[in-house]
């Protein structure tokens, strides 16, 4: 019987003591995925993540659409981080087509990307709060992120799916009087998120639930190829905005937040510190941005790549490094498009971290990986 089964469907035999438990896809603590955990009493002995519930075949669809019509569906994996998820694609297409972007557009992109990072992280923080039963931490970030959503709505006209970045710049210029409003909102936002320390990060209940759970050492973080806040919480100073600055990040002063502990607490704190850094970057960018000028290079209709070529571009998104591998064969559509997303890369750490943990710690460890299932499945 077992011999006839294809290699993907072999049946596993387990011990009598071990109970197999399906967490998700209908479970408050799982999101859009299933985690198959095997427990011995209260302790997890093995864990097998089963993603793919939102696998929509974006990469196949990209082969049927041209470079411009690919934009709306490529931002859908992470709609609340849509600027960042589109960023590597746009950079890659610009390199393929050989487009130079105006200076002002680069600054607008950086501002949008940082605003989006905050919007994403706030949503993540809200869900992290409700996962741990901390209702205040759902309400506060969910309310405060609306401030920044308003800003993005002013820029692009849409609440979450902006489709604002296009090869050659950004779709629209900033609205009049934007700098002032943005500065005011961001300053207020920063003041608000600093208050979270008192209610959440210094909360003894949170600390006792997350400290020393799911510890990922520095060596393992490197070996497993994790990225973003998971990597930085394990003591590896690696932020693509610093290490491989794209657009105008090298003219800005970017500070990356690193924590040594590598436990759930550190992983949940690093994105919060990153948000303050984002506020810093936005303020710098607003100051240095050219006050006027073009924000978009006009493209020819149906732009084509220049023969056989491939690019790999990456940016630092809310969930870590986000790479886009585009292979072009000189047609109007990409020959192959592969998105290497932070969530998918961090997922490999989940079975590793959950082994030996208590079942009750599963939500805190799982969501601290900064994981967004829709993005991982693509």
């Amino acid at each position: 019987m077992t011999a006839e089964l294809p290699p993907g469907l072999a049946i596993q035999k387990v011990d009598e003591r071990i109970m197999t438990l399906n967490v998700g896809p209908q479970h408050p603590g799982s999101g859009h995925m299933r985690i198959i955990v095997q427990i011995d009493g209260d302790y997890i002995v093995a864990c097998d993540p089963d993603p793919g519930y939102v696998h929509r075949g974006e990469e196949k669809m990209a082969e049927y659409r041209n470079y411009i019509t690919n934009i709306p569906h490529l931002e859908r994996p992470v709609i609340h981080d849509s600027c960042n998820v589109l960023y590597p694609y746009v950079l890659g297409v610009e390199e393929l087509l050989g487009i130079e972007v105006p200076e002002r557009a680069k600054y607008v992109r950086v501002i949008c990307s940082e605003l989006n990072r905050c919007i994403y992280t706030m949503y993540w923080l809200a869900i992290y709060g409700i996962f741990l039963g901390h209702s205040t931490m759902f309400m506060w970030p969910a309310g405060d992120r609306e401030l920044l959503i308003d800003l993005m709505e002013k820029i692009s006209g849409a609440r979450v799916t902006h489709a604002h970045f296009v090869p050659g710049g950004v779709r629209n210029d900033l609205p009049p009087n934007f700098e002032e409003v943005c500065l005011r909102q961001v300053n207020y936002f920063e003041k608000r998120i600093k208050e979270y320390a008192a209610v959440f990060y210094d909360n003894p209940i949170l600390i006792s639930r997350t400290q020393d759970t799911g510890v990922l050492s520095r060596e393992d973080a490197i070996r497993l190829g994790t990225t973003g806040s998971v990597l930085r919480a394990s003591g590896v100073d690696y932020d693509l905005r610093q290490k491989e600055p794209y657009d105008v990040y090298e003219e800005l002063d970017v500070h990356s937040n690193v924590m040594k502990e590598g436990d759930s607490y550190a992983r949940s704190k690093v994105p919060w510190l990153d948000m303050m850094e984002s506020c810093n970057i936005i303020r710098q960018a607003l100051q240095k941005m050219p006050k006027s000028g073009s924000v978009r290079v006009k493209l020819k209709p149906n732009p084509k790549g220049k023969g056989l070529d491939s690019v790999y571009k990456r940016v630092e998104s809310g969930r870590g490094s986000l790479g886009c591998h585009i292979v072009s064969d000189g047609k109007v559509e990409p020959y192959r498009l592969k998105m290497s997303v932070g969530s998918f890369r961090n997922l490999i750490a989940l079975p590793y971290l959950l082994k030996g943990e208590k079942l009750g710690n599963m939500p805190s460890v799982y969501w601290s990986l900064n994981y967004w299932p829709v993005e991982a499945d693509r």
């Binding site: 793919g52 390199e95 972007v101 491989e244 056989l308 790999y312 192959r336 290497s340 499945d377």
Partner: protein
């Protein structure tokens, strides 16, 4: 990708903006390759000689092409000799006209700060079958999971999306597709979307 060595124009000043820099006019004059990237590719060429082929040397990207028999050795050298330590992405590219499927590893480094910008693009090709039986036909490659642990899920994805079986991979199960998927591996070129 064609077999000849392609050397795409790159930026001479390493400190200038790396993104969105258009390539200069193609071919015409001899191109000066970025020095650091050239030294990386030279090290690999020195070690393996004819077995590998340098596909391109761009700014921050070095492309190397190997046959499927040597990919394991080359990957081992990349880890031990060149200090690369993790794989960012494994993407398959289907070339039906060559009857081959290319698997591209994008390898980066966290521990070596001089390599932080660099991505080493290791490409290898597997034989392609017209009527694939995933896991049981000749579309096979050696797994790099024992060298780079981080390829585990990526290789599982390539297996289900292209039908490339990785020998030596401990867990070649289905990952993203539904359990009852019985069609062709979907990212192959001959799998056509209905109505397109």
């Amino acid at each position: 990708m064609s077999t000849d060595t392609k050397q795409v124009t790159a930026d001479e000043k390493p400190a200038a903006k790396p993104a969105a820099k258009p390539a200069a006019k193609p071919a015409a004059k001899p191109v000066e390759l970025p020095a650091f990237e050239k030294s990386i590719s030279d090290k690999v060429v020195e070690k393996f000689g004819d077995k590998i082929e340098v596909e391109f040397v761009k700014e921050n990207r070095v492309g190397i092409k190997v046959s499927r028999d040597d990919v394991h050795d080359v990957a081992e050298f990349i880890r031990d000799g060149l200090n690369y330590d993790h794989v960012e992405s494994v993407s398959g590219v289907d070339y039906p006209q060559d009857k081959e499927i290319e698997v591209v590893y994008h390898i980066g480094s966290y521990s070596d700060s001089s390599l932080a910008k660099q991505i080493l693009v290791l490409a290898t090709r597997a034989q392609r079958e017209d009527n694939p039986i995933p896991g049981k036909d000749a579309t096979k490659l050696p797994s790099l999971r024992d060298i780079f642990y981080s390829v585990e899920f990526h290789e599982r994805e390539v297996f289900e999306m292209f039908g490339v079986y990785f020998t030596g991979h401990p867990d070649n199960r289905r990952l993203l597709l539904p359990e009852d998927w019985a069609d062709l591996p979907p990212l192959r070129k001959d799998f056509a979307i209905k109505g397109r």
